[in-house]
């Protein structure tokens, strides 16, 4: 699956990553996996939302190999 990160997450990860789905059933699993890949990002990741096809999904959303997943840090627009 394709994973895109934004804003301060780009200090910890590549902007766009291709990840294999081994051990990643749902959206929550993906956050855990990313935290393992870079523990420094854990505090931010805990506060992120996940979007699939520009729609926010809950932690138990089942991820698909063909999904493009966006990790959305807390909004700070305006």
């Amino acid at each position: 699956m394709k994973v895109q990160v934004y804003a301060m997450l780009k200090d910890y990860f590549n902007e766009e990553m291709t990840m294999d789905t081994t051990g990643i059933q749902n959206a929550s699993d993906l956050i855990v996996k990313l935290s393992e890949l870079n523990p420094k990002a854990e505090a931010v990741l805990k506060r992120c939302r996940i979007a699939v096809d520009m729609k926010f999904v809950s932690g138990d959303y089942k991820l698909n190999t063909h999904d493009t997943i966006s990790i959305i840090p807390p909004s700070s627009g305006g």
Binding site: A7, R47, M54, S76, G77, G78
Partner: protein
């Protein structure tokens, strides 16, 4: 101001809602005029020269553009339906912004002013808290800070 030749649909379907150039604040106000609207409210969120005792030199905004545009459109539409607005629009700028420049502008038009104020605040509150847009502040001392970051990573 004089009225536009044709009056707008309540929601601005043809506008770019995330822009990289300075926001045309007066143009948005002009667009929002409506013969049934007695009260028009415009909010402009502008870059301040200070934040938490630090001197800000400029900001940079980043967005997940297609999703941010879609969410701003949905939030604006929700306000139009909730308050029965004659028109409403929200435009957010991204990229580098200097002090006093508008980062976001919201315009709402209703027959009465109370509803225009309420709807305007509703739109900016939701856009700030929900849309995938991020601010990075740059300070005079050379440091920078992502809005929404928790300083605990």
């Amino acid at each position: 101001m004089t009225p536009s030749a044709s009056f707008p649909l309540p929601v601005a379907v043809d506008f770019k809602l995330i822009v990289t150039e300075p926001i045309d604040v007066c143009g948005l106000l002009q667009w929002a005029h409506h013969p049934k609207a007695g009260g028009i409210v415009l909010f402009s969120g502008e870059v301040r020269n200070h934040h938490a005792q630090k001197k800000v030199t400029h900001l940079e905004y980043e967005a997940f553009v297609p999703m941010a545009e879609q969410m701003i459109r949905e939030i604006t539409q929700a306000a139009i339906e909730k308050w029965n607005l004659h028109s409403a629009i929200c435009v957010h700028r991204i990229g580098k912004l200097d002090i006093c420049e508008s980062a976001v502008v919201v315009v709402t038009a209703h027959s009465h002013r109370k509803e225009s104020y309420e709807a305007n605040q509703y739109i900016i509150d939701r856009v700030k808290h929900e849309a995938p847009i991020w601010k990075r502040e740059f300070y005079e001392d050379g440091t920078s800070f992502w809005g929404g970051d928790c300083h605990c990573g």
